[in-house]
Subunit: 305 residues, 2 copies
């Protein structure tokens, strides 16, 4: 990929955006951070950055969501129903496509990170994986046959409802579902339940049992989609609490109880693994999104000949 | 598709197999049934049928599972860890590919039915849908961008564990998970719980509440994958009990609680719909599997030129 043309990669986050001119982790030419404020201010600042760059062949954008990735829909390329003030129904992908005459790839930040981990990180060489981030929210992105798994929209599997540990009837914090996985196991859920931030909570605090149990059912559900050859785990709650991973592996095995029989699932230590790219997964994933948009346009041009 | 070349389509079921020479529902040239007995006897009988047919351009096979659809694996094309006596580790797809010099498409019967419903049935014209069958087992297949959603293996989402209705602690019948969706809502689950077969159970029997609740969480999980523009429902339990569908729509809406906002989800009457092809979905889906294998080989040949 280092011989590949550079991509203008954008990661749009809740508090900051990263713009990166790169064709891979060994070929990062520029990297600029812009605070996420109002949409017009933020997107104009990113355009000013890109205006100063030359020679990018495509743009890739991984954005906080929800976003519309439905090319059959008039709102394609928008950030849609976000509660983030001012950002609902913000045109992102079509705006950049109109300004720069290059293909634009657009997806969620989570799917971007999944693509980045699949190309250069903990899923290197795999055509199918899941990436799960457990932090302020819980997001899951899946890649199959090298492409994002999507259709009507992107995955929101952090919001599945799961069975509860016996005797646990805490109501959870998700405003939509109460005790869905995000409502039980995200950073804000842990803080609401214990009064202590996840990164400061003792490893033997009993609240971790409920967190691990909820996350394990999410892992099992991802396995039961049939897609991932590996699940890559990131986000502050998991990165900050390395004691969770062995527990999560054991609990996932218990939830599946031997049901799916494939060699990849025999060893949970190689099936459930920590992310490798850290904060780089987002912008590097956006590089992949841009490269895929470029390849898609090239394919179409070839077919037309 | 009626101008398309005929496909030799095989649906391998637990009690019978269907062989169909067809290019679509309006172009069915032959249809033969063969009982499912021992593998060698059954597959030889199907080969004898295909030996008598001429001019098929590809073979499509939708099989009871689990099957290996992993082209990176040595067991690709096998029925794998089935409890069906004699059928574990049976080579199916490679056997037919070796005997006939045509492309062979191979997947589960459920994904086959999903493809059939997407092409000619209740999902006609949709590039993304889910098909769920509720009968002896509970199977879910998803199609995205016109292709099966898979990776390591095929979906087994009938086995997800779900929250229970308050006060319901019946243990369920799944030998792996007890009260997963299949353990709570399949035909054998209903019979075990009530002593009455699903098709004979009164519409106002209280056991239906638990069945609908479990199925609604499966529907919500499918929505949260982001894939389906519609969910198509088949199988004996749902077909035989039309009173379930309105309840299932209401319970699915309750489980999601407005979380995913897309126009397709606004009207549950057009989002959760009955299958249209009935028993034809299986063999017609196998026609699509064969046609896709043919198109894939043609693409590869074109790329090589």
């Amino acid at each position: 990929m280092t011989d590949a043309p550079p991509i203008a990669a954008l990661e749009l986050g809740g508090t900051k955006c990263v713009a990166m001119l790169a064709s891979g982790p060994d070929a990062i030419h520029e990297e600029v951070r812009v605070p996420t404020t109002r949409p017009e201010e933020t997107l104009s600042a990113l355009e000013a950055v890109l205006d100063g760059w030359r020679g990018f062949a495509a743009i890739g954008i991984g954005s906080f969501g929800p976003v519309s990735i439905d090319r059959q829909s008039g709102d394609y390329g928008n950030i849609t129903s976000t509660p983030k003030p001012g950002w609902a129904d913000t045109n992102v992908a079509r705006r950049f496509a109109a300004r720069y005459d290059v293909p634009v790839g657009f997806h969620t930040d989570v799917v971007g990170a999944a693509l980045g981990e699949a190309r250069w990180g903990a899923g290197q060489g795999l055509d199918a994986l899941a990436y799960v981030t457990v932090g302020t929210g819980i997001g899951a992105g899946m890649i199959a046959h090298g492409q994002p798994v999507d259709g009507l929209t992107h995955a929101e599997l952090g919001h599945i409802r799961v069975p509860r540990l016996s005797g646990d009837d805490w109501t959870g914090v998700c405003p939509f579902h109460g005790a869905c996985v995000e409502g039980l196991a995200s950073g804000p859920a842990i803080a609401a339940r214990t009064g202590i931030k996840g990164e400061d909570l003792d490893a033997d605090h009993p609240a971790w049992d409920s967190v691990v149990d909820a996350l394990a059912h999410l892992m099992a559900t991802l396995v039961l989609t049939g897609v991932p050859r590996r699940i890559v785990l990131g986000g502050g709650v998991l990165v900050g609490n390395p004691h969770l991973l062995p527990q999560l592996r054991a609990a996932t095995r218990l939830s599946l109880n031997g049901y799916v029989v494939r060699p990849e699932l025999e060893n949970m230590e190689t099936f459930l693994v920590p992310a490798a790219l850290g904060a780089g997964a987002g912008p590097l994933g956006a590089v992949v999104l841009g490269a895929q948009a470029l390849a898609e346009r090239t394919d179409r041009a070839f077919t037309r000949v």
